[in-house]
Symmetry: C2
Amino acid sequence: MRADINDARSGAAQVTQIRGTQAGSRRSDGGEGTGGSVAELGEFGLIAAMSARLPTGPDVLLGPGDDAAVISVPDNRVVATTDMLVEGRHFRRDWSPAYDVGRKAAAQNLADVAAMGAVPTALLVSFGAPPDLPAQWALEFADGLRDETTAAGASVAGGDVVASGPIVISITALGTLQGRAPLTRSGARSGDVVAVCGRLGWSAAGLTVLGRGFRSPRVVVEAHRRPEPPYDAGPEAAALGASALIDVSDGLLADLGHVARASGVRIDVDTSTLEVADPLRAVAAAINADPLAFVLTGGEDHALAATFGPDVELPERWQVVGRVLPAQERGQQAEGQPRPSDEPPVTVDGEVYDGPAGHDHFR
Amino acid sequence: MRADINDARSGAAQVTQIRGTQAGSRRSDGGEGTGGSVAELGEFGLIAAMSARLPTGPDVLLGPGDDAAVISVPDNRVVATTDMLVEGRHFRRDWSPAYDVGRKAAAQNLADVAAMGAVPTALLVSFGAPPDLPAQWALEFADGLRDETTAAGASVAGGDVVASGPIVISITALGTLQGRAPLTRSGARSGDVVAVCGRLGWSAAGLTVLGRGFRSPRVVVEAHRRPEPPYDAGPEAAALGASALIDVSDGLLADLGHVARASGVRIDVDTSTLEVADPLRAVAAAINADPLAFVLTGGEDHALAATFGPDVELPERWQVVGRVLPAQERGQQAEGQPRPSDEPPVTVDGEVYDGPAGHDHFR
């Protein structure tokens, strides 16, 4: 809701081009119709129509419509995380329906809150849309946001709508620790076990299928379009006394690497404990690849990976997949070996993994 | 930090293209050099280099580097607002240096926190960058973010970096009410005075100058590039007992329209009280326009506009510019007049203003 520099491009544009009805009055322009583009609906009409689909929950003390929202934070500490999705980079309109883009955009932020051992309370959503985007796309996106946010026990507290070239979605998720300490990446200790709750590799398999122009196996395509993070496993891990917790967004090895580095330990993954589901085997067979690569390196399923003391009794949905080892000591190294800081802190069945690894957005 | 769908475009891309060093290890790639592009620095190198320029303040209990940040909120309520800026829409690299884009992006979000009568505590920043963007641009942008955030008494708690076509910046600002009630748009009462703290029309005049290919008067160009919101005037208005408060981002008439509608009142602006500074007169004369149009309709200076009871003694920096009137009653209307809901709720010297008005991003 600020001036657009394009207003200034031609002549006395500041005084002519921004002419129009007073801001806000377009809410009653009949903009509730959804057959047209977001430009036809107008900025304020779009905000009104999206907001109407996003009821606020009890944690939102003051919702959309003012300069800022006010959200309840019971224990004087708010957990906050943000992620941006760019059309053509993180999603494609021909690969995912708007509703699923909304669910996924919400899910990846809500999962980051859960990965602190916290409970999500509210989202703020910035939505950049090309003016010719069908308004229906924006409204179905809002429906997806709403349903995923509700599933996590939160709601949408506010946002911003701007014109953009590609669709750009930026979400900030807030949450509460309910009096607990935050569960960081840095608390893993030698002797701990590594356990995972949630799926691994399904989204990556789905992405591979879509990248080849196919739509099946449908279960992996659906998993790519709409991850199902186990939100309540975050607070559960905290209650079980987890020493570290992370959201598996980059891939199991990459994310365990973050934990190992932050904690100053090594981690070994035992592949005999990893379930490789049939649909992943089918996709891997079709492209002549190792299905285990999906499980070890596929991101975006938003499983949670935690480390626990060796004696913790874990609920069934937490699968032990590895163990935490002491950092390699220099004394153990043979002459001419790489320096410890260059060694991968995560091994697979005791060996350096030589398959594909993590992701860098700019490479 | 998620998979990029472009990884899937060619063949078994998921298993081949994301090959690389383990995520995170690029921090030691010598990526601190800033002569190259963000792609050469790499995602993790860029995050590390930007984070190094963004020290966290005392309100940030856990800063960048984990799944989420943890921020102190002393009174169990967090104020939260978000805005997105798209290159070519909200700023141009040839019109504003990176440092100023950083300051402005922070300022417009921090001002929204102040406009609730709150004190800003922390920002979360999502940064979408074209891979060929000079890394130096990103670092100077971070410097601007830092300086504006520090000026407002806050710091940057976390963020996200992704690849994008145009530069896209999405910021969420958090703040604390320090035990006070939030100052909304809906509390203005008939009989109140309307007062403004901060500049009006300077940014719009600067935008007009830039749009015509000029760089002077320099003071208005600087005002466009780097607004100076009076952050502490927000909590001050609350302490003075303001009945409503808003950030002037769309323009005085448009934003007072938001207050009038939300409060169910009318507002009349008295132009004899409005200062029209010499640089604004100079720009208006050059384009044969009314300089008052800048003051009444120019956005993005992020002044604060408040309503106060008629007997409040205001500090000198608050300029009384109008008064709050009762909503027009139907009984007062002549036959055939427009319905009250269609009437502009803000008048200028008692008349409907027929100059340019607010801004709609999609029109």
